[in-house]
Symmetry: C2
Subunit: 182 residues, 2 copies
DNA sequence: GATCACATGTAAGAAGTTACATGATTCT
DNA sequence: AGAATCATGTAACTTCTTACATGTGATC
């Protein structure tokens, strides 16, 4: 059973895993790259870091090369394990239909798995669930009584899902080619 | 200045505007059609309806043709006005980048504007902000140092945004043709 | 008579938002 | 000297989640 944490907490774990950094650094990442829509408000970030620290997933050090007040966080072993558990979670139908941005966040952090096996499993499941989801939307388009706006909105959903579906296929090919080259 | 309400509350206003209905009816809409990801849990719906009632945006009647306990809500004049204000809000860059599902919810409810003028303004702004957003993503792809996963994720975002962009253009044409026919 | 669908609610807790607060260091 | 940036935090509030609670009418 996987520990349940908020998406923001996983985003923080992933970023810290990429490079140890302070709360301030993390806030800037969210503000400047608008990372998938997680707000970098101090009222969200600092309490989340506190929770992660209390749970023993991250540890803060005060680096001695700065004279500014500053605490740099890095992952603990448990932190790495919790992050990996989250990354290895199977992609579900609801993830695809309701939480796509979170899936993309997970995908980015799958770069920490150097074997690419988690990545390939992720993309395969993503691709198949997207296929189902697109079929569902098409059924709804045929069967539900819809206004012109409703039908168009559904068609928009179908179009963007189909783009994501093609992307999932292409991404799989990229990783397969990469694996073959070795 | 527009009254600030939660997205769930606007979703409820829009659905009730479409047809007066009870909390139970509304919950089923969310559960069965998975409407854009708003959960139909009673702990969300009933308090939200209470808030809307207290603010004078909806009113509940007990219909006498049923013997079940049941309260049917309909919009008040103020409720219609608040919904319309929300629908008329200009589409912003952040809406496009961060809150697309909410935009699609608004689009569906724009069917209440029979002149289609709000719809057309909505689609024009959507189209232009999407264009900018796609350009931003392409800049990030060129300029940021990215892992293979990061680059692919960005390309996925570009692909689905381009699909939405094409959709916004096609939807505009649909409404223009419809307008011309009269 | 039991079970399912109808129908509405509350309580506790989690997590985010906005706004405020504070102070040090670096740049102009 | 003053402004901008670095850096961390708290408090009040809002809203959602999960889980529990309750009861009636319809169907088998």
């Amino acid at each position: 059973m996987v520990e349940q944490r908020s998406t923001l907490e996983y985003a923080l774990l992933g970023l810290i895993r990429g490079a140890p950094q302070s709360g301030y650094d993390l806030r800037k990442v969210f503000e400047e790259t608008a990372m998938a829509g997680y707000s970098g408000s101090p009222g969200a970030i600092y309490p989340a870091l506190r929770r992660l620290e209390h749970s023993g997933l991250i540890e803060g050090d005060v680096p001695d090369d700065t004279r500014r007040r500053r605490k740099e966080f890095r992952l603990t072993e448990r932190g790495r394990a919790v992050l990996l558990d989250w990354l290895a979670l199977p992609v579900t139908h609801d993830d695809v239909a309701l939480r796509f941005p979170e899936l993309m966040l997970r995908f980015v952090f799958l770069s920490f798995d150097e074997s690419d096996s988690l990545t390939l499993r992720f993309l395969e499941r993503l691709e198949s669930h997207l296929g189902e989801y697109i079929a569902d939307l098409k059924v709804q388009r045929e069967q539900l009584p819809l206004t012109m706006h409703g039908r168009l909105a559904l068609e928009g959903g179908i179009a963007s899902s189909e783009a994501r579906h093609r992307w999932a296929l292409e991404a799989q090919e990229s990783f397969r080619r990469k694996g073959d080259r070795r």
